[in-house]
């Protein structure tokens, strides 16, 4: 398995693509389990019951935003502030969902439900590199990560951290490493380099000032700028 599995032939059956997605999702499933146990422990220490923490992972299923909302509550923030924080941290799923939209099928409810499978690593896995996406790779990869995210949260919340401090395994480096690998693949198209550099610059400049989540959302504006470059070229 070298090279992005996004290269899976589009004429393979949905079942085969689903399995390919699940297989490709295993490293993220492992990382997700480790991060989820940390979340379970953090939630427990914040006085949140194991049942509540596990239900949160099962129905919110957005790791970074879950850590952020718990941090807001622990620091005495209001319910409104915590929910706004959730929206900001998860706001990057809006452009990701727009990009993925043509790959989904069915009526509005079915499309809304399929959109719930969008998480960072699966979105990247399912990207074919030409602006189109494979929904079966998304579903397969997300299914694995969903299972380990919920199971890891329960393990951390009820059992404490079985693994000790999971940071020592370096699992938290797996996600950015994967995004970097996908990015390197994208940079083979000339214009993408400028857009990536601008997106990174926008995000870094905003980090010290903007609420968590906003830097990544606003980095998507680099794509709009890049569109004008193309027209001028």
């Amino acid at each position: 398995m070298s090279g992005p599995p996004a290269g899976t032939a589009a004429d393979e059956t949905p079942g085969a693509r689903l399995r390919a997605g699940a297989l490709a999702g295993i490293p993220f499933g492992i990382a997700s389990f480790a991060l989820a146990t940390s979340f379970g422990v953090v939630a427990h220490d914040a006085g949140i019951s194991g049942v509540a923490a596990t239900v949160m992972s099962a129905i919110v299923f957005a790791g970074a935003s879950q850590f952020a909302t718990i941090a807001i509550i622990v620091s005495g923030g209001s319910l409104g502030a915590a929910i706004v924080t959730t929206a900001l941290v998860n706001s990057r799923f809006l452009p990701m969902g727009v990009a993925f939209a043509p790959a989904f099928t069915g009526g509005r409810l079915k499309r809304a439900l399929q959109g719930q499978a969008i998480v960072d690593a699966s979105w990247g896995l399912a990207a074919r590199g030409d602006g189109t996406f494979d929904r079966w790779l998304l579903f397969g990869s997300t299914a694995v990560q969903y299972g380990t995210w919920v199971a890891g949260t329960a393990a951390g919340a009820f059992g404490g951290s079985l693994l000790g401090d999971t940071d020592r395994f370096g699992f938290d480096a797996i996600y950015p490493a994967f995004f970097l690998a996908l990015l390197i693949g994208e940079l083979r198209h000339g214009r993408a380099l400028g857009v990536a550099a601008l997106g990174a610059a926008i995000a870094l400049v905003l980090v010290p000032f903007a609420p968590v989540g906003l830097p990544v959302l606003l980095a998507s504006l680099a794509a709009l700028v890049g569109l004008h470059w193309r027209r001028d070229a």
């Binding site: 398995m1 949160m56 929910i83 950015p176 997106g199 995000a203 193309r230």
Partner: protein, 99 residues
């Protein structure tokens, strides 16, 4: 309050993820939007990388993860192996933290 928080966070996240797929029901996107979307991946991926390896919360910071991810980038650039790149990222980061 925790159950109100969980319900609110779930509803907000559901709505954000559903918005694009529900609003854009066509199989083909308008040409101009399609052009933006091809460029969304490099913009979002670059932002995800730098915010995870060059920042800690609202502070700019470098650490073991910065080095681990840089090493993994070299591996994927030289070998094209995604799995190799993920293993190197975790191993280098863990190794530096163990020092």
């Amino acid at each position: 309050m925790i159950w109100e928080l969980i319900a609110g966070a779930a509803v907000v996240t559901f709505a954000i993820k559903a918005a694009g797929p529900v609003a854009l029901t066509g199989r083909e996107l308008p040409a101009r939007l399609a052009g933006v979307i091809v460029l969304l991946a490099p913009a979002l991926l670059a932002a995800l990388v730098v915010t995870q390896v060059l920042a800690d919360g609202d502070r700019l910071a470098v650490g073991a993860k910065t080095v681990g991810v840089a090493a993994s980038g070299f591996v994927v650039w030289r070998t094209g192996s995604i799995v190799g790149c993920l293993v190197v990222a975790a191993a280098v980061t863990a190794g530096l933290r163990a020092l």
